[in-house]
């Protein structure tokens, strides 16, 4: 699809980008704003109750969770967590360092700071906040960025606390770690001015670079969860949460548009088949007996623990459950996701894919007979406890009804592939009320003036500086600017002028990116330790070839450079060791030298480097071999 087609579809995209701030402390207490590697020392359990909204309504998903008896288990350690995160002490006043960074971001985005900051409570009762709400405040409104000549509006810049980290969900218990709770996050929300997937990507990137230019934002560009609101004409506003990387945004938008288009086509297909909402019969049939002897493991396990199998007949739906929405996402998958969420089921089976999974064709036949289905109908079955199966299939029937209207408003989760999956219904009107425990903060105009006269250089200017002053390639300079290591880069270059700037820059960009892709938690290595790495490099205590291995080891084991060198056996060879190795290798290569004369140097070098890579400087070694070979020829 090109951009014109997206425009014709009426695509509107708004971004909600989040950036974790690299402040010393958390937003509302004096805990360090870093994740903890330590073991959890404390565990406690909580229940969160839905409270009424201003309209006397409760969030249906929240109420549902509560009725199902969700117990939240929190794990805390003493270093990263205090009574504030435990919801056992009122929040302290807001972290002024975070306010300054967020206001700086606001000014860079041409937004207008508010006169008074009021911290609000935004109700979230999935357990990710011990309080049952997220503390958040708007710091500025009405900004814009220039995107290749087009203005993209910035609606608001908010400062909020990050949520607890979910560890796992087991049955009716959900486990969270509290270390991340309270780390300051800046949320930048754009207006729905974006009209194509690629525009969404470039807008996100542009905002990201501007935000990063403060030098006070944690982790690699956009390695935090991003949310995108997407709608097309006749479709619905869908909020996609948890996009892991900015680069995934265009893909997510593209997939979501396709999904909505395909759902609209499904609606038309239903009409073409002459089906209507009244043709959906929500009756659930107890078909447990059919599966008493089944070879389907999922079903037999459910029956062993006293469960049931129920069926829902979808008249005229044959083939439609396989209706493809996105790659790997069929209409049946959507139904299954509803059943999983509302019924806590493992999934569903439907006749468009049966017989399979151990369910035999005779069982399918018996099923059709039991519910009186013709070969034009589809049947959905689910196995599990009676309550769960009823809830799950009821949700399936409700989702089927929505298909007649087109696209439901939903909150969806982005998979790493860029396909979105149903997460929960969209929460009602954002329930926010004042956080009365935190005093109102008046924004002094002098504070804004001060921040405005100390704004960081914008990314484009810094790229030029790195090319000109440090001799970096343009690409490397851009990557550096997009990284979190700019300040470190300048500091290292200042301290160790003997190190080539390009080595420092590529270590901090290409090498870290490559390691991150391999799943190495390289962001855990502190800047102090990285600085130490460059000091070792400058002092000849290690060689640049060893950097990736050493960094990976430091990240994985949480150790310093010296330990990593020791543990990996990558300490540089001493001169004596080198002389010995070279003379031994040269004397062993008599034939080679006889044949290739001085050209043998390269081969010998390769063979030694293979064994001692990272422990020896290649150019120096080459020189030694050359001398030794020269001597032997003579």
């Amino acid at each position: 699809m090109d951009s014109l087609e997206y425009e014709a579809l009426g695509l509107k995209v708004g971004l909600e980008l989040h950036f974790q701030l690299a402040t010393r402390y958390k937003l509302f207490c004096r805990c360090p704003a870093t994740l903890s590697e330590g073991e959890a020392k404390l565990r406690f359990e909580r229940r969160l109750r839905p409270t009424q909204s201003e309209l006397g309504e409760v969030d249906p998903a929240a109420l549902f969770e509560f009725r199902k008896g969700l117990t939240i288990v929190y794990e805390a350690d003493d270093r990263s967590t205090c009574l504030v995160e435990l919801d056992e002490e009122p929040p302290h006043s807001i972290n002024e360092e975070a306010v300054d960074i967020a206001l700086t971001i606001a000014l860079l985005l041409n937004a207008r700071p508010v006169d008074e900051i009021h911290v609000m409570r935004k109700v979230v009762i999935d357990g990710s906040n011990t309080t049952g709400f997220q503390r958040t405040c708007v710091l500025a409104l009405g900004g814009w960025i220039d995107l290749e000549g087009k203005r993209i509006g910035i609606q608001s810049i908010c400062l909020e606390e990050d949520a607890a980290r979910i560890v796992e969900r087991r049955g009716d218990r959900v486990y969270y770690k509290l270390d991340r709770l309270g780390i300051p996050l800046v949320e930048v929300s754009t207006s729905p001015d974006i009209h194509s997937p690629s525009e969404a990507g470039s807008a996100a990137l542009a905002i990201g670079k501007i935000v990063l230019s403060t030098g006070k934002v944690k982790s690699e560009l956009g390695s935090i969860r991003q949310d995108v609101n997407i709608s097309i004409r006749d479709g619905a506003l869908v909020e996609v949460k948890g996009i892991q990387h900015l680069s995934l945004i265009p893909k997510v938008v593209e997939n979501e548009v396709r999904r909505q288009v395909r759902l609209l086509e499904l609606r038309d297909e239903l009409r073409r088949r002459g089906l209507s909402k009244s043709s959906v019969d929500p009756t659930l049939y107890d078909v447990t007996d059919i599966f008493r002897q089944t070879r389907c493991k999922v079903v037999s396990r459910a029956l062993e623990s006293g469960g049931v199998v129920y069926a829902l007949k979808l008249s005229g739906f044959r083939g439609l459950l396989s209706w493809l929405l996105n790659e790997g996402l069929r209409f049946g998958t959507e139904l299954a996701d509803y059943a999983v969420f509302w019924g806590r089921l493992g999934g569903i089976f439907h006749t468009d894919e049966l017989p399979a999974y151990g369910i035999s064709s005779s069982e399918v036949e018996a099923l059709r007979e039991a519910v009186g289905a013709t070969d034009q109908d589809a049947i959905v079955i689910a196995a599990g406890s009676r309550d769960n199966v009823e809830d799950g299939l009821k949700a399936v029937a409700e989702r089927v009804l929505i298909a007649f209207d087109g696209v439901p408003e939903e909150t969806r989760r982005a998979e790493p592939t860029g396909v979105t999956r149903y997460m929960r219904p969209r929460p009602g009107a954002a329930r926010m009320y004042p956080e009365t425990d935190i005093p109102i903060l008046v924004v002094d105009p002098r504070r804004i003036d001060h921040l405005r006269s100390n704004l960081p250089e914008l990314p484009s200017i810094r790229v030029r500086k790195y090319v000109k002053e440090y001799g970096l390639s343009r690409k490397l300079a851009e990557e550096l600017v997009a990284s979190i290591y700019e300040n470190l880069f300048e500091e290292v270059c200042r301290s160790f002028p003997s190190l080539p700037a390009s080595v420092v820059a590529s270590t901090l960009t290409e090498t870290t990116t490559m390691l991150r892709r391999r799943g190495v938690p390289v962001d855990r290595v502190s800047t102090d330790r990285l600085y130490e790495l460059f000091r070792f490099l400058a002092e000849g205590r290690m060689f640049k070839e060893a950097i990736p291995d050493i960094l990976a080891h430091m990240a994985g084991k949480g150790v310093g450079v010296a330990e990593a060198l020791e543990e990996l056996g990558l300490k540089p060879l001493t001169d004596e060791e080198l002389v010995e190795i070279v003379s031994e290798e040269v004397s062993r290569s008599g034939e080679l030298i006889a044949k290739h004369r001085l050209n043998a140097v390269k081969i010998i070098l390769g063979s030694i480097m293979k064994r001692y890579r990272g422990r020896v400087d290649a150019s120096r070694l080459a020189k030694m071999i050359e001398d030794e070979v020269g001597r032997s020829i003579r």
Binding site: L42, F44, E45, R46, R47, L48, R49, P50, T51, Q52, S53, E54, L55, G56, L83, L86, D87, E88, E89, P90, R112, V114, D115, E116, I117, H118, M120, R121, K122, V123, I125, T130, T131, G132, F133, T136, C137, V138, L141, G142, Q155, S156, C158, A429, A430, R431, M432, Y433, P434, T436, P439, I440, V442
Partner: protein, 444 residues
């Protein structure tokens, strides 16, 4: 036009501006300043904010303050978007066969509710409000709710204790199965002690309950505390005055502390209340009450009466290094009838205080000694100062909490004039406030 518009918290120039625009809190407004437009609901101004700001709840739900520093600000009323009022949820009907429980409201965090539209915190107390956040209660007991008053617990006085006690007396005479008093937590321990002495031969449980997190928060401890309290009021075998609050950090157990032994020991935790020099009476878990001691008063005994007078000319004085004995003199000269000293360690004050204390005793003031250690028993025979204090007539009050000793002395001196009789009563266990033995389990 409304002649008395709600402009909660707005003062001076800003109030004038809002008045002339004909808007009040809750109205849809448009505020224009230097061409910048803010639209939303006019929110109340909290008391401690500066005067020069209008608070607007934006459509996004966020509040912001707009500075009104010069005449260039315009405020305009917009048509209401939709009428919104707090709706009480459907009230579940309790079965007639369930035990009857009365909930008496006195105020505090547990009885506050936020108006989500404007953010104003308002006191509540109706059965509907309670069921609103704790519908489970309807399955436990038939509940009557009565608001006795609505004050912060730091504003509570002995007169309030009397009112509560007589109100409880009315319900007990009507044959109620259990009584709950909702109370601010700061002085709940004092009220619990006062009721313990005032309600003689109690036939049913009287349970004080509070919250450390307000009920408008999803994480409020109010719901579990109330469920525990109502369960105990309806079904527990004990007939004593207790405080019901979270046992630990988790939302699973509620501890019941004897009214004369309980103290708020933490400023903010939900398990702030501890039993001191005593076991907890019982614990609630999963709709069940488990007794933790055999030593408790059973339900249904006869002879109930209310004796709820308190002598207010009684003081609690904390000793500290450098303490000026003139402080004691002041109390004597002002006509105080009793002093409870919170001394150091086993029960000491500086020997400099001895003349003043002697004068107090000689002028008919009862002087009792408790310890600022809280845990443990007074023993004024070990050190010389203690013996000298006893010699001038200071009474060691055993293992009584300082606050309990204060309340008890108020109660005792309202009943007797004779200091010797007061001394005898102060050393007699009346409501579980004095034990003769100290268990090794009773510490922190």
């Amino acid at each position: 036009m409304n002649r008395n518009p709600n402009l909660q918290g707005y003062k001076g120039r800003v109030r004038e501006l809002l008045l002339s625009a004909g808007v009040e809190v809750g109205d849809e407004v448009r505020v224009v300043r230097d061409g910048e437009v803010y639209e939303g609901v006019l929110a109340p101004r909290i008391e401690y904010g500066g005067e020069d700001f209008i608070v607007v709840k934006l459509r996004s739900g966020y509040n912001i303050g707009v500075r009104v520093s010069d005449g260039k600000v315009q405020v305009e009323k917009l048509p209401a978007r939709r009428e919104v009022r707090y709706k009480s949820p459907v009230i579940p009907e309790a079965k007639a066969t369930l035990p009857s429980v009365a909930i008496l409201g006195t105020g505090g965090t547990i009885a506050s509710r936020v108006d989500y539209r404007t953010g104003a915190v308002t006191p509540i107390f109706s059965a509907d409000d309670l069921y609103g956040f704790t519908p489970e209660l309807a399955g436990i007991a038939r509940i009557d709710v009565e608001t006795v008053f609505n004050i912060f617990s730091e504003d509570m006085t002995p007169k309030h204790w009397s009112i509560i006690a007589y109100k409880i007396g009315e319900y007990v005479s009507k044959g109620i199965d259990g009584i709950i008093v909702t109370h601010g937590t700061d002085t709940m321990g004092y009220t619990a002690a006062a009721l313990s002495f005032a309600l003689r031969n109690l036939p049913v449980p009287v349970i004080l309950v509070g919250a450390q997190r307000s009920p408008d928060r999803p994480s409020s401890d109010a719901a579990l505390n109330l469920i525990g309290a109502v369960t105990a009021a309806a079904y527990a075998p004990f007939a004593e005055v207790v405080v019901a609050m979270h046992k630990g950090l988790s939302d699973d157990e509620v501890a019941f502390h004897r009214g004369t032994r309980v103290r708020k020991c933490h400023t903010s935790r939900r398990d702030a209340f501890k039993s001191i020099n005593s076991d907890q009476v019982a614990v609630y878990r999963d709709y069940k009450i488990e007794m933790l001691t055999e030593d408790y008063r059973r339900r249904g005994e006869d002879g109930f009466r209310v004796e709820a007078e308190f002598e207010e000319r009684v003081a609690l004085i904390k000793f500290y290094p450098g303490f000026d004995p003139k402080i004691i003199e002041w109390y004597i000269d002002d006509g105080y009838r009793g002093l409870v000293i919170e001394g150091t360690g086993l029960g000491h004050v500086s020997s400099r205080c001895i003349p003043a204390l002697k004068r107090a005793v000689d002028s008919g003031v009862f002087v009792g000694m408790t310890s600022q250690c809280l845990w443990g028993r007074i023993n004024m025979s070990v050190y010389r100062t203690g013996r000298e204090l006893q010699a001038v007539g200071v009474v060691p009050l055993e293992d009584m909490l300082p606050e309990t000793a204060l309340v008890k002395l108020m109660w005792v001196l309202a009943r007797v004039d004779d200091v010797g009789e007061a001394r005898r009563l102060m050393l007699t266990n009346i409501a579980g406030e004095i034990f003769r033995r100290t268990s090794f389990r009773w510490y922190a």
